[in-house]
Symmetry: C2
Subunit: 183 residues, 2 copies
DNA sequence: GGGGCGTGTCAACAGCTGATGACTTAGACT
DNA sequence: AGTCTAAGTCATCAGCTGTTGACACGCCCC
């Protein structure tokens, strides 16, 4: 029998769920897969998380938040952005964390949270880089760029974008930031 | 019984499949849903498309290709790009066509086709807007931007980006294009 | 050392899903 | 009218999925 350690079991389930949901999406992930990855009995998912939806929400809540601190210096911002898009920044993830958000279930509370997370990131960019006409729309274009890069790198595997390092991205991103949010 | 018209039945199935796959993804779509939407018996899917995977590939093959003609004039390109991102450009689609590509199954031939489609779009941008160091990487950033905008507008519903018209997008996109692909 | 509780195991069910083969019927052609 | 084929219908199957209740076991405290 598995050693009795509720916290470790819960954590193993969360990590397995994070990987599966991120890679295969909500519908494409089965609870038996998650339980097997975690080396845990299927029934324990119900005990700890109640349901598949509960497991997904818990895994989502445990995932890192993006663009929490936006530097007001444009060069520093471009660098921070390219770092958050780099795979090396998320060594414990097989794919970029934002993919789990995009591959979520259709559950209303999840889609609402997703929209708020992305709109919030755009708002933080506006707050840091200063107001302007269309500033929010332009900041959302930056968020869209980040989402698109994450998808193309992590889920699609487009070359040479997938193999680009954070340093490779900083230059072009800096040019975009300067063009979109003029001082 | 349904009037006997193989071509119309096939077409109805294709359109229903396109809608379902685009909105709910491959795993989230059931063949019974598609058949019901098309007003067609479930067994006809097997007759006309062989399997669920066959139906998906047929629906994918019938979807429009993006960025087929890239104007070499930067202003015209920015305008073409913003038009392709506008919902009005795809009145027969509920969501942006590229979402079906992203929400595909894990089938190898589909993921390969997806990568080729996106890399091809980037290559066409390079061909039109001229070579430069990093030109392909920068073009792929433009493709990533397009994918991200489609996702945020159509699947997530981020405001104000979702409500922006093609004209609203042209200005900012022009700035990005100029910054990324300097003459 | 014996309850009692938290932890893990097991077996099963009800519903759905993709797939399939046998059957029926419309419509063209002779 | 008779026949043949394409088109559509029907019932059903085997497998998987999420969920669940009953059970077994280890560990702590009195």
């Amino acid at each position: 029998m598995r050693p009795r350690n509720a916290a470790a079991t819960r954590q193993a389930l969360l990590e397995a769920a994070r990987d599966r949901f991120t890679r295969a999406g909500y519908e494409g992930t089965t609870l038996r897969d998650v339980a097997a990855d975690a080396g845990v009995n299927l029934a324990l998912i119900k005990r700890y998380f109640g349901s598949k939806e509960g497991l997904f929400k818990a895994a989502l809540a445990a995932s890192p938040r993006l663009l929490t601190d936006v530097p007001s210096d444009r060069a520093a911002f471009a660098e921070a952005l390219s770092r958050q898009l780099s795979a090396d920044t998320w060594p414990e993830f097989g794919e970029h964390p934002v993919l789990m958000l995009l591959r979520a279930s259709g559950d209303e509370s999840v889609t609402a949270r997703r929209r708020e997370a992305l709109e919030g990131a755009a708002q933080r960019i506006v707050d840091a880089l200063g107001p302007a006409p269309d500033a929010l729309l332009r900041a959302e274009l930056l968020v869209a760029l980040g989402v698109g890069v994450a998808v193309l790198r992590s889920a699609v595997g487009v070359e040479p974008l997938s193999e680009a390092t954070a340093d490779d991205l900083t230059g072009p991103l800096r040019a975009i930031v300067d063009a979109l949010m003029p001082s």
